[in-house]
Symmetry: C2
Subunit: 353 residues, 2 copies
């Protein structure tokens, strides 16, 4: 690889001058030298060594991002928001996938710190895991102590800046909607129980049912991976245990799509026999059949705000922005098929008639 000295030598100037030309320094350089340098750069196909540059200027510019998985639409949307602001400010993003592995998250914090990022953004649910949370906070604190900025999206652990989708209210909206449609036998297809996102959404759901004087028994909840296959499998288990279910809440849209697949496989019409409601409103939600009723989160906006927090002026007190959830009614929800209000024996009578 050609180096700056190579360029300088070829152009017959000092490395200092070559550097000034290449970086458009404010120091003036005569046109003649400038051209000689530029010519040398072109001939040698010179590209500055980024590491040497970053070492020489102690200018931290890049921003580190840790998400669970960029190819998951939830994070793809958030990342789009992050990217937008970063690009506007000429910042490079380093994106890392933790695949929901806490240890990998810890490793990536170190890695990004080592890469001298100006800021760090952690997106995605936190974990119910004391030890991990403490460790993570220590690392983040150490990073912040050296002037790094940190913001989290959708997780509580961190004591600094945060962008929080209102998961609880989202869960509440889903629950209330189903209650108003007359559903009693509601099953929940949930993500891993170790994730705070799962428990937050469940809490909202519980609250909605509670207001109707009902509870959400554990047997009506199945925990699985937060993806399509997890949703399909959890729905199957739910249905096996309780075939009378008239509604299913999936704690994210991927799982909802899995639920829809299982229902289709079992020939249970949606929404006539079973209603389904998702969470997140990812783009594909409009395109499944029937189009998915879901709780919308302003994903792109979450990314925009987190990046703005982290690149904006530092404030004394940490800022927490709570972004609202919104129910999007589409076609996977409808009135409960038949009210299971009458006690089970009554229903048996029904069936007999």
């Amino acid at each position: 690889m050609a180096t700056l000295s190579d360029v300088a030598r070829r152009a017959g100037v000092s490395p200092a001058t070559a550097s000034r030309v290449i970086n458009g320094s404010s120091k003036p350089v005569t046109d003649e030298l400038r051209e000689r340098v530029l010519a040398a750069v072109a001939e040698l196909q010179y590209v500055p060594n980024a590491h040497a540059q970053l070492l020489a200027r102690s200018h931290r510019s890049a921003v580190g991002v840790i998400v669970h998985d960029v190819s998951d639409p939830y994070f793809a949307e958030i990342t789009r928001g992050l990217q937008r602001v970063a690009t506007d400010q000429g910042r490079l993003l380093m994106i890392c996938n933790s695949y929901r592995d806490p240890d990998r998250e810890l490793e990536y914090v170190e890695l990004l710190r080592g890469h001298q990022v100006a800021a760090l953004i952690l997106a995605g649910s936190g974990y119910h895991d004391e030890a991990f949370t403490r460790q993570l906070n220590e690392k983040l604190a150490a990073y912040e102590a050296t002037g790094g900025r940190v913001a989290v999206i959708g997780r509580h652990e961190h004591s600094g800046d945060a962008v929080m989708p209102d998961n609880r209210t989202g869960g509440y909206l889903a629950g209330r909607e189903l209650c108003e449609l007359g559903h009693r036998a509601i099953g929940v297809v949930a993500g891993p129980r170790i994730l705070t996102t799962t428990t937050d959404r469940l809490a909202g759901l519980r609250q909605a049912l509670g207001e109707q004087g009902r509870d959400l028994p554990e047997r009506r909840i199945r925990y699985a991976e937060f993806d399509r296959d997890g949703g399909a499998e959890a729905t199957a288990r739910l249905l096996d245990a309780d075939p009378e279910l008239t509604a299913i809440v999936a704690l994210n849209d991927s799982m909802a799509i899995g639920a829809l697949a299982t229902l289709r496989a079992r020939s249970l019409p949606v929404p006539q026999r079973v209603s389904v409601i998702g969470f997140d409103d990812m783009p594909i939600a409009r395109d499944v059949t029937p189009p998915l009723t879901t709780v919308r989160l302003p994903l792109v906006d979450m990314g925009v705000r987190a990046m703005s927090l982290v690149l904006g002026a530092e404030t004394l007190s940490p800022r927490v922005e709570l972004l609202p959830a919104e129910l999007i009614r589409r076609d996977t929800t409808g009135p409960a098929a038949r009210s299971p209000r009458p006690a089970p024996r009554a229903r048996r009578a029904d069936t007999a008639s």
Copy 2:
């Protein structure tokens, strides 16, 4: 940020010794010193400056990847394959989105070269653009001249190692299937015509029709963005121009989903009235309704192979791996509603009866 010298000072050793302990060098260090160093590292929360390290060891390790858009499932799958091999070998991946902007692709080649990546992988269709192709090849050649390895996925331009999905045969399979089902009026929802992927797939389709003694007139093709909305819009234009269409080939699955949306909006039942066939077989294809008939490409495998090529031993002659396309029959295709073989007037008689 604490530096290595800080650690060394605190541990009462030289930076050299500290470095040896931290990197597990082969040079032996007494246990006592080792422990002192480790303790200092922990106390100072020391993380090595990655740029300084990369500068000091001339060891190139990271691999650069340029894709059109990681959040597009097509590239998400390929990336998964790339990632798998890279992780196995302890390599870091730097992933850049070009968003199908040739200039940005050029820039990223430079950027990644500047970051001293050991290899470069370009995934995604090439462009019908002589000037760009030449420029890109120059840059890649310059990079290879300094010991860099390059592989491309799904593009012809580059003269070196390549992994090529068999787009042409894929198009052929789609065309033949539709012919065998008796379709005559076939419309094509195509990606941007500047992309070689678009023209390759079209060429295969043409060949299949050609074998039936038919051609594919331009008026039966609509070019649009390679995404859901592009597909929806192109389908609408196609249908407006030619309401008699009995089949639509979408040149990727995202566009097919858009096509399905438009057909649903117009109450044209799939596949009874119109058959639809997609391309790529991305995961969501099974979950739309009806499940999408499509041409499968081994996306993950493409990633695996490209990364293996680039990290494996260098060979004299460039290797090109052609990966097969396969037709996956699902439920969006069926026999043509009524054979348009009889001339239009005959059909009008039909309708009258």
